[in-house]
């Protein structure tokens, strides 16, 4: 509860973070309810309306087969958010587990865990994700797995640092002498104290996970056309950029940038709030 109060206080002083949080809430609402209110069918083609610039009827214009781009962006929001959320969630569970075990037990467990983390980090991460999807096969799940794997190091490092810092503290000793086993101490007493830090890390990496997944589909991995997805839509619009049909790539691209930027600003804001609390 104390954290929520600090958060409210921090947001009042930081209108930028509050605004970007509002944008994220709107995006979530669009992802949930958007398809119910969208005016067109995201897959309905209409050759007579191909590549028309924005009008009132089609606020973002139409693409090369006459589909309404605005509707497709709305439908894509759900998919892109789903990919980012599940990848970050999966990465959090695995990375958090690795990091907390490594930080709490130290020794050989720590060394093994850090070897895994360092090995992942030794790859340029998008390239590794590319290699994983290429090897596992071209599907939505594999995009999620690959994005989760390349995010694991960040969560594992955060969690490890937090556990290392806390494992010698008084309350851990108290829990130990009152007869708690190491796994119980870790799960009940230690991990919850590190959750705020982990959440900040999750927000900061969420935008990156989104860019990563969009870039994978931009190069033709994972999701296949005609499924609406921001990365694919930008890829489809890419060939029309040099002939001047800018709207096909611009609107899905701008949406992606806006969402990622909001996530990054919120992540920064949350980190500042948390840092301020720790300094106090």
């Amino acid at each position: 509860m104390e954290f929520v109060a600090t958060l409210q206080d921090g947001l009042r002083r930081d209108p930028l973070t509050a605004t970007t949080m509002a944008i994220i809430v709107i995006i979530c609402l669009v992802a949930i309810f958007g398809p119910f209110v969208a005016s067109h069918d995201p897959l309905a083609t209409n050759p007579s309306m191909a590549l028309k610039p924005p009008t009132w009827e089609h606020p973002c214009g139409t693409d090369q087969v006459g589909r309404d781009i605005c509707t497709r962006i709305v439908y894509a929001t759900r998919l892109d958010l789903f990919i980012a959320l599940s990848a970050v969630g999966l990465g959090l569970i695995v990375g958090g587990l690795i990091g907390s075990l490594a930080g709490f037990f130290g020794g050989i467990v720590d060394r093994l865990a850090m070897w895994i983390v360092d090995t992942i980090m030794a790859f340029p991460l998008f390239v590794l994700a590319m290699g994983i999807v290429a090897a596992l096969g071209n599907s939505l799940e594999n995009i999620i797995y690959a994005t989760a794997i390349v995010n694991v190091p960040f969560y594992a490092r955060t969690m490890r640092a937090e556990m290392k810092q806390r494992r010698e503290m008084g309350f851990v000793e108290a829990a130990r002498v009152s007869g708690n086993g190491p796994f119980r101490i870790l799960a009940v007493h230690l991990v919850p104290t590190a959750l705020p830090q982990l959440m900040v890390q999750a927000t900061l990496t969420m935008g990156w996970a989104m860019l990563n997944a969009a870039a994978l589909s931009f190069i033709g991995l994972g999701i296949r056309p005609p499924t609406p997805e921001w990365g694919i839509m930008v890829a489809e619009g890419a060939s029309f950029i040099i002939t001047g049909e800018w709207w096909v790539a611009l609107f899905p691209g701008i949406t992606l940038v806006l969402v990622v930027l909001s996530l990054n600003l919120v992540g920064d804001g949350l980190r500042d709030v948390l840092d301020a609390r720790e300094r106090r």
Partner: protein, 340 residues
């Protein structure tokens, strides 16, 4: 010279477990293929003989450990398999396309450093000012832009609207003659041959993709520079120098700046991995004939030897660059040198 050699050996030794991990992952990626790896490596329309040959060559009928050992032995001989599209050894293809990628990545790293170091220093000197906030917002925005999208925006504005940039179709004008290959870098080869038309043409083609690429590195570099500058400016030796009435420019640009550059050096390594990643999509947007678009062509054609060869060699290159940076760090930072 001797201690330098020792420190190089030490860094390389530190990197051995990581290199082993990288090779292990890359080995796993070539065996994880759903179904029969031999079928995948044989390509789109394999003959039964080709599959049998590949199975034999990959030792798929032998125990896993033996497969791994032979994989390493092949690597040590510089053998990453054969590409299906070009019919050449993957290593030869990668080497042939490497200069295009290095030219692009190198220039964009340079742009990123030239933009973000002053931004970070100004941000730290005028902390909380309008410039500081603007610089922070700019670097966060740069971090939030996917480079494939920035690339397209740049093409639209500077090629389609303003007509200033050449079409995004490779390194030189399709009708132009490239200078004789010496270094593989068109701009440098142009200078060597005295062919200044190639130099300007090569530069004109380089500008947009390298800006698109540089933007992905500016975010982290600006932040680290600002943070490092702030830390150094509040440290004891700066306070001491201030009390001696040292001129402000000398204090900032000689003493503080030099010390703040150490963390920036480390981040430059990390940024390189960012750039190599973004490189793949930027090369696609600009039809740049580097190793990134090679990997993408291979991906489309299910040419797995080429894809995994690309992943492994890029990872090894990155490890190498980190070793290099560690060694440089040791040369620049007296404390590290003395500690050894």
């Amino acid at each position: 010279m001797f201690p330098l050699l020792r420190s190089v050996i030490k860094r390389v030794a530190f990197a051995v477990p990581t290199i082993f991990g990288v090779v292990l992952v890359s080995f796993a990626l070539t065996r994880l293929l759903p179904g029969d790896p031999a079928v995948y490596f044989a390509g789109a329309a394999p003959t039964p003989e080709a599959i049998a040959d590949i199975r034999k060559a990959m030792l798929l009928d032998r125990p896993l450990l033996e497969q791994f050992v032979s994989y390493i032995v092949n690597l040590l001989h510089g053998d990453l398999g054969k590409s299906l599209i070009t019919g050449q050894p993957v290593v030869r293809d990668l080497v042939a396309r490497m200069p295009a990628t290095l030219e692009l990545t190198g220039l964009s790293l340079l742009i990123a450093l030239v933009v973000s170091i002053p931004l970070g220093v100004i941000g730290a000197l005028r902390k909380g000012s309008l410039i500081d906030h603007a610089a922070r917002f700019f670097s966060t925005t740069a971090l939030s832009m996917p480079s494939f999208f920035t690339g397209l925006l740049l093409v639209f504005v500077f090629y389609y609207l303003l007509g200033l940039a050449p079409a995004p179709l490779g390194r030189i004008d399709p009708l132009g003659l490239p200078p004789p290959v010496k270094s593989g870098l068109i701009v440098i080869d142009g200078f060597l041959a005295g062919d200044y038309e190639s130099v300007t043409d090569g530069l004109a083609h380089l500008v947009l993709p390298s800006i698109a690429l540089a933007l992905s590195g500016i975010g982290p570099l600006t932040r680290i520079t600002r943070g490092a500058m702030l830390t150094v400016l509040s440290s004891d030796f700066i306070r001491a120098a201030r009390s001696y009435d040292m001129p402000r420019w000398r204090l900032i640009y000689v003493y503080a700046f030099r010390n703040a550059m150490l963390p920036v050096l480390t981040t430059a390594g990390f940024v390189f991995s960012f750039l190599i990643s973004a490189n793949v999509v930027v090369e696609k947007v600009f039809s740049w004939p580097g190793i990134g678009s090679y990997a993408l062509e291979a991906l489309v054609a299910s040419d797995y030897a080429a894809v995994q060869g690309f992943v492994l060699s890029v990872a090894l290159l990155y490890v190498l660059i980190n070793i290099l940076i560690d060694v440089l760090y040791g040369i620049v930072d007296v404390r590290v040198r003395l500690a050894e």
